[in-house]
């Protein structure tokens, strides 16, 4: 049932998968830059939706290459949940709140971009020394995955409002997902589903928090720091 390598009967050749995953990785990094550079919340949401779509495509490619049925299921769930449902929810929340549509960065966006570059470079540097983890089919998935994860956290750290922090969380989540999918060629289905459920739950809790805090005390999550003891 699990991956049995790139056999002769596979519909797609190993080199081709390799190239496709690398291309998708480059596109993922590009969407990540879009998220970091986005000046408005809408743009960041669209970028993260695109990113999730790319992840779903990568899952489909890997599924075709390895013949792993689980990967098809995961790709499908990713497409529905992360590329369609969660961005719509975010979009709906932004419309519901109706104010502060622009991203409020803690440090200037240019500086955040510079930090993101540092992270990407370091990820490649790191994974170069982790040679044994790479597998034939993976290509450059590992450094891209690490870079996505860390940059997602960077977005969470450098944005004031809860909404953009949610976008960062999803991007970071995508990075973890991509790494897991490409490096292990599909984790057990139950784990992947568990991870997706986690994200849904986090989105639910954060949405409720944002809306409730907004409607009861007319403040953003970021203002809660005044509550410290």
């Amino acid at each position: 049932m699990r991956a049995h390598g790139a056999g002769a009967e596979d519909p797609v050749s190993t080199e081709m998968v390799h190239a496709i995953i690398d291309d998708i990785g480059a596109l993922l990094l590009f969407t990540m830059i879009l998220i970091v550079a986005a000046g408005q919340v809408y743009r960041a949401i669209y970028a993260v939706a695109a990113q999730s779509l790319l992840i779903a495509i990568a899952g489909g490619v890997l599924a075709a290459a390895t013949g792993n049925i689980d990967l098809w299921v995961i790709a499908g769930i990713t497409l529905v949940v992360k590329a369609i449902v969660l961005p719509s929810v975010l979009h709906w929340v932004v419309r519901r709140m109706n104010v502060r549509r622009e991203v409020e960065p803690v440090i200037p966006i240019a500086a955040t971009l510079a930090l993101a570059v540092v992270i990407v470079v370091m990820s490649f540097h790191l994974s170069a020394s982790l040679g044994t983890v790479r597998q034939a089919i993976t290509g450059n998935a590992l450094p891209v995955g690490i870079a996505l994860t860390l940059t997602g956290v960077l977005v969470m750290a450098t944005r004031m409002t809860a909404l953009t922090q949610m976008v960062g969380l999803f991007a970071s989540e995508n990075g973890i997902f991509f790494t897991a999918m490409a490096v292990t060629q599909g984790m057990p289905l139950i784990i992947e589903i568990g991870v997706i459920l986690d994200v849904i739950l986090a989105a639910l809790v954060m949405t409720i928090m944002v809306l409730r805090v907004r409607s009861t005390v007319d403040a953003d999550i970021a203002d809660l720091d005044r509550l410290r003891g």
Partner: protein, 700 residues
């Protein structure tokens, strides 16, 4: 000796003991209908369990020597097989636990009814549950055959005693005492976890046989490090100075029969742990134990004995005074243990001396359990009739509570190491071991042992002074408050519990040779030498002797039975002489008090009694006192004088308060630095992750 009992009977007894304690714990459900019923049923179950434990331990001790009774337990965890294994040492400590538990179970119900008649049912249920869990965990801890059972029982014992400490009164002091107890106990438990898991990791299994085998392959440094970790853990529980600060707060806070169990028994469980680790689990395969072990224990024991009794002298809270005496007595036990560790596994003379020292320590374990239990129960009787613990507010109880007075006096004589009671026997044996050890070693080591003997002598004298104060101020004179004036004798079941322990004190004092026979199995197993009776009661069970085969040292011997007979004869003679010479008419008259009518304020108070020693040891006590005079118009007429005096615990102020200040400062700094901004925290995590990846990720 009779034929050894069948192992099957002993195993049945063990299961019976477990089920009694278990049933006792479950009687808490009865509290839904009647708290009184729950308490009575729970204590009856505890009594049955203790009697079963007594039978099992006697069966093992008097049965085949060197036989180990094992009982596999049902599998609870997939990774470890739990088992009980009872050898001589386990059985001896089970005996100690069961003897005091019998007294506590007899005493408990009436005490709880009299002390807190308006207790809610929830509290009564909690007390029944905790008491049985406490007793069961202590009993099975001593019989544990693997590390996991040991640690589970250890933790159960701590938690159950915590519940009992905080359950007695609903005031802040109990809660604070319980909190301190919890923190200290878990600090100690953490050390034990490290020591045990370091061994189990090497062994790949949890049972003691595997741990023993794994410890055989340790290098000397690791072995010593593990021993000191375990010693730290056990010493915290045993209340060894300077880890004793929780003890004088937590022990008095519990109900009195639980105080008796905590002081008399729970501390001994820690002694059991030290013995088990030093002589059994961690001992090198061949050759003597590392010298640093024994000397450390000896020094700790000597310090605890002296410091414990010095602080006890300045306490005016009856139960707290007794708790400090527990620190002292644990010190005396550890002197014997340390000496045995220094001397064991050497040539024959050394082994004989080590046997003598270990016999003294183990006998003192039993003796201390008996007399400290008795004293705590006596203090509990006073407390439940007067609701006062401060002895300055008591006085004159001798006429009002004659039984309690007599039994408390018995305990006081025993703890002051006066013949013919049991405290004298074990301290005499400790002295013999110390003096023999001083003759055995020459040079500085011998001198150190002599110094330890001198400190032990000082301890004995100070303990006698302390109990002269405690007994005199509490029971003699006139009642100082109305609480003491209206006291009545305690109920019969409480007296019964005390009589049981008092009888034990007398029997162990008058015929100690029979108790020494019980020590054959543990001493022979731990020291690979002759058993205790071969060294101590070689001339028959009625004579104690220290036959040490040392050059230039004659054997010393004492017969407690003859000594008792002599004392009784002397007392009878004195009484007869007094009767005979009373030809002159006796006249009774009030005490002459310079023409004033005598009041209770004329009596010697505890503070005044302890004043000379407070001055002598001022460097240790750092006494503080404030006297304020309220004058009525003219400075020559004082209408009122307030006196406030206090001594501090040096360990508490010098060590613990500093640690506390450090922690407070640190947390204040952390609080200043924490902004409460989420993105700041996330950024911090990201940065830390980044640095960690750079440091450890690259170059592998």
């Amino acid at each position: 000796m009779s034929s050894p009992p069948d192992p099957a009977i002993l195993l049945t007894g063990t299961i019976l003991m477990a089920s009694c304690y278990g049933a006792g714990a479950l009687t808490l459900v009865l509290a839904r209908w009647s708290g009184r019923l729950a308490i009575a049923a729970g204590h009856v179950a505890a009594l049955a369990g203790a009697v079963a434990g007594l039978g099992v331990s006697l069966g093992v001790l008097l049965g085949d020597q060197g036989r180990t009774l094992t009982l596999p337990l049902p599998v609870l965890f997939p990774f470890a097989r739990l088992s009980l294994s009872m050898d001589g040492l386990s059985a001896y400590f089970l005996l100690v636990i069961s003897l005091v538990a019998i007294a506590a179970a007899l005493y408990g119900p009436a005490y709880l009814r009299a002390h807190s008649p308006d207790a809610g049912r929830a509290r009564q249920a909690a007390q029944v549950l905790a008491l049985n869990v406490f007793l069961g965990c202590m009993s099975f801890l001593c019989c544990a055959g693997d590390a996991l059972t040991f640690l589970l029982c250890w933790e159960g014992m701590t938690l159950a005693s915590y519940v009992l400490v905080v359950s007695d009164d609903r005031d802040g002091e109990n809660a604070r005492a319980g909190h301190l107890y919890m923190v200290m106990a878990h600090g100690g438990t953490a050390l034990l976890f490290i020591a045990f898991f370091a061994l189990t990791e090497r062994a790949g299994a949890f049972d003691f046989a595997a741990l023993r085998a794994a410890a055989g392959g340790l290098d000397a440094t690791t072995r010593t490090a593990l021993f000191f970790l375990a010693l730290g853990g056990f010493a915290t529980k045993a209340g060894v100075v300077p880890l004793h600060v929780w003890l004088p707060r937590a022990h008095p806070a519990a109900p009195s029969h639980v105080s008796a169990l905590m002081s008399g028994v729970m501390l001994k469980v820690a002694i059991y742990g030290i013995l088990r680790f030093a002589f059994d689990l961690l001992a090198p395969v061949t050759g003597p134990l590392p010298p640093s072990w024994g000397w450390t224990v000896l020094v700790l024991g000597t310090t605890s004995a002296v410091v414990g009794v010095l602080y006890a002298l300045q306490q005016h809270d009856l139960k707290r005074l007794l708790a400090f005496h527990s620190v002292e007595n644990v010190g005396i036990i550890l002197i014997g243990v340390g000496l045995a560790m220094v001397l064991c596994r050497r040539e024959a003379a050394g082994v004989a001396l080590a046997t003598l020292a270990l016999t003294a320590a183990l006998l003192h374990t039993l003796n201390h359990a008996a007399f400290k239990g008795l004293l705590f129960l006596g203090a509990g009787s006073v407390l439940c009739r007067t609701h006062v613990r401060n002895m300055e507010e008591l006085g004159g109880l001798a006429r009002r509570m004659p039984w309690t007075t007599g039994l408390f006096l018995l305990g006081a004589v025993a703890i002051s190491a006066l013949p013919p009671l049991n405290g004298f026997v074990s301290e005499w044996l400790t002295f013999q071991a110390l003096l023999g050890g001083a003759g055995h070693f020459h040079g500085p080591a011998g001198l150190a042992i002599v110094l330890s003997a001198a400190m032990l002598a000082l301890t004995g004298g100070l303990a006698a002074a302390c109990f002269a104060k405690a007994f005199g101020v509490t029971f003699f004179g006139r009642p100082r408050t109305s609480h003491a004036e209206h006291a009545t004798e305690a109920p019969a079941s409480m007296i019964a519990g005390m009589v049981w322990l008092g009888a034990l004190c007398v029997v162990l004092g008058v015929a100690p040779g029979y108790a020494v026979r019980l020590l054959d199995a543990p001493t022979a197993a731990l020291l690979d030498g002759p058993g205790a009776s071969a060294v101590v009661s070689i001339r028959g069970p009625l004579v104690l002797s220290a036959e040490l085969a040392l050059t230039g040292t004659g054997a010393t011997a004492i017969s407690m039975t003859v000594l008792t007979a002599l004392l009784i004869a002397l007392a009878a003679l004195a009484w007869a002489l007094r009767r005979g010479s009373s030809g002159v008419a006796r006249r009774e008259a009030p005490t002459w008090t310079c023409g004033m009518s005598p009041t209770e304020r004329f009596d010697y108070t505890a503070t005044a009694f302890a004043k000379p020693l407070r001055l002598v040891f001022a460097a240790l006590y750092r006494p503080r006192r404030e006297v304020t005079r309220e004058t009525a118009g003219t400075p020559y007429v004082a209408s009122r004088i307030h006196y406030y005096g206090e001594v501090v615990d040096v360990a508490e102020t010098q060590v613990y308060h500093r640690v506390q200040r450090g922690i407070t400062l640190l947390s204040r700094i952390i609080r200043l630095r924490s902004t409460g901004r989420i993105h700041g925290y996330i950024g911090f995590v990201l940065g830390a992750l980044f640095v960690a990846l750079l440091l450890f990720g690259v170059g592998r």
